[in-house]
Amino acid sequence: MTSIIDDIRKTARQLLTEEKVDVVIGYEKGSLPLKATPCFVRSPQDVDKLIWDETCENNLAAFVVKTPGKKAIIAKGCDSRALMVLIQENQIVRDDLYIIGVSCQGVIDQRKIEAETGEIIGATITDGKISVQGIECDKVFNFTEVKDITCQTCRYPNPVLEDVHIGGSIEVLQQATLFADVMVMENKSDSERKAYFKEQMGKCIRCYACRNVCPMCYCQECFVDCNSPKWLTGGVDSAENLLFQTGRALHLAGRCVECGACSRACPQGVDIRALSRKVNKDVKEMYNHESGLTEEVKPALNVYSADDPEAFLVKE
């Protein structure tokens, strides 16, 4: 880790000193334990703020579109996939972007820790062990136990698009079945699934953190904000929240890069991923597409084939 951090800082310092970029978008230590926060480094003196560890949970690609000028960005596998989609969708100019790729072990899901220790007062990470001082109790966790659910099934920990790579690469986990989590859900009865989503959507407060944290949600006017037609009221009942989340998941079909930022950002712990994972599974199975892997392969919903499945049609 230390050498990765040193290399990140060195690269950032060089880019800024040589004025190749105006800003380096990376992570610095946050104000809370086990929390990193995005940072924008503009001068070589500040590069020592930059860090890299299992707490760097934000998808920095979300900041690229709105940050003016030439920028360098620290990109994990998922961040780089997001950048790839943004390039495909003409949202960023590749020449204005310098991608510092770092392979990612996965990030910590604080909720898993807090479920056992209560609010985290302090924590240290050493060699894959996380020692947590909690308000209820202290405990040492193995990183794998508290790895974010998205990262547990991540198949692209290594950046797919980068100008420089820092650190080693990570061996991709071979999975017997992809989307096992979605299959568990699919195998439940209709009423169980309905009840599950009703409960989850009941928690949503429509703060739109999920939308705003998402690198793919860059619409000038989101359908939820549109007042003519008015797709949604300001209501917060589970039906309207589901309309919002389903509408969003469908808009991300073939574009979602599975970074899990939406679920991590949700202050209410809504299982937003459950929707996008399902769509991603369908896209993979029906159209054999995974978003943001290469620039050449067009997003699944931008293309078609004459023999696409149509089992969904009425039988008449």
Partner: protein, 338 residues
């Protein structure tokens, strides 16, 4: 005075027949305030709720009026319905939040009937905090984990019993109906004193922030502060004092209602004019607005800082934009002399 939890529970259950009683309960992913019927349902050992209890006076989504159109005619109906309510287990920060909201929903010209009908029909029973989260900083804002401001009755948990104190006339009235009040023992008094003298570990200095902010509208400090902000409303919606709202129409065919819903100054659409002009179109100006409103404008209008140090915005921010650091930043910012 003190009351055993057993006796208190009996009175609580009896009151639940007469009042709608809202209390903290454990639910998926945390603690929330919900309607309960029995004291046994109440979560005893908790830090604070995930969302502030302001929604009981100022719901996230409420009907103001309903109407029916027939041809060119319209009939309008007021939709103000209120139940007598007891809010139990309110933490000192949130109780103070109610006092601040009272100042918002009543000004020199108007009084908001939806808010005050509920407020006037609610008794707030506050409970002192035993545990203090690392994000709590109420001690910096004139409060403490055991301050009773904003509560009608204030309780301090002593294990098997509560130290109980009536703060307002409403509280005295309710407390007069309680049976089984006893004097505190010396040891219990010592425990009460210890709890009362507790302070949050995290602190900020707001002593000069209002006057400093008077001179900071054009300060370059705001130029970079907002960069990582996502413009979501996770902070506003989880704040006990944020109160901005939107009024919109929900209508199907010829019947509809006018509703008000929480809104927040972080969203660019919040201030967008019909003409397309937007006085706060930049994240920079919206973050400045958030800080100035809480620590300057509110003080000028209402004599108090509109932050109670509950720490929810710190906990909930997806990018860890910590208001304590922002306060520090304001304190340290160099004033620009022009």
């Amino acid at each position: 005075m003190k009351i055993s939890k057993e006796k208190f529970g009996q009175s609580f259950d009896a009151l639940a027949a007469e009042y709608q009683v809202i209390a903290p309960v454990r639910d998926a992913g945390g603690v929330s305030y919900k309607a309960v019927k029995k004291f046994s349902e109440v979560k005893q050992d908790y830090l604070n709720s995930k969302l502030p209890p302001k929604s009981f006076f100022f719901p996230q989504h409420e009907k103001l009026l309903s109407y029916k159109k027939e041809g060119k005619d319209v009939t309008v109906k007021n939709e103000l319905n209120v139940e007598k309510t007891i809010l139990f287990g309110i933490r000192p920060c949130d109780a103070k939040g109610f006092l601040l909201l009272d100042k918002v929903f009543k000004n020199d010209q108007y009084r908001d009937p939806y808010y005050f009908e509920r407020r006037d029909n609610t008794i707030v029973i506050g409970v002192a905090c035993h545990k203090i989260a690392p994000t709590c900083f109420c001690s910096s804002l004139g409060l403490s984990p055991a301050s009773s401001a904003g509560s009608d009755i204030f309780l301090i948990d002593l294990g098997d019993s509560y130290q109980i104190e009536a703060i307002s006339d409403n509280g005295k009235f309710l407390m007069a109906g309680l049976e089984g009040l006893e004097e505190l023992s010396t040891e219990e008094q010592t425990l009460v004193d210890t709890i009362k003298s507790a302070e949050t570990t995290s602190k900020v200095d707001v002593s000069t922030i209002t006057t400093k902010l008077d001179k900071m509208f054009d300060n370059p400090y705001w130029d970079t502060l907002h960069e990582k902000c996502l413009s979501c409303n996770a902070c506003s919606f989880s704040c006990p004092t944020c109160h901005c709202f939107d009024i919109s129409e929900e209508v199907l065919k010829n019947e509809g209602s006018r509703v008000r819903t929480w809104d927040g100054c972080m969203a660019p659409l919040f201030t967008l004019h019909g003409s397309g002009h937007n006085p706060r179109d930049q994240k920079k100006s919206r973050w400045r607005q958030r800080m100035l409103h809480k620590f300057n404008y509110f003080v000028h209008n209402n004599g108090d800082i509109a932050c109670v140090g509950c720490g929810r915005c710190i906990k909930n921010c997806p990018v860890n934009l910590d208001i304590r650091q922002t306060i520090d930043g304001v304190n340290k910012a160099e004033l620009v002399v022009d």
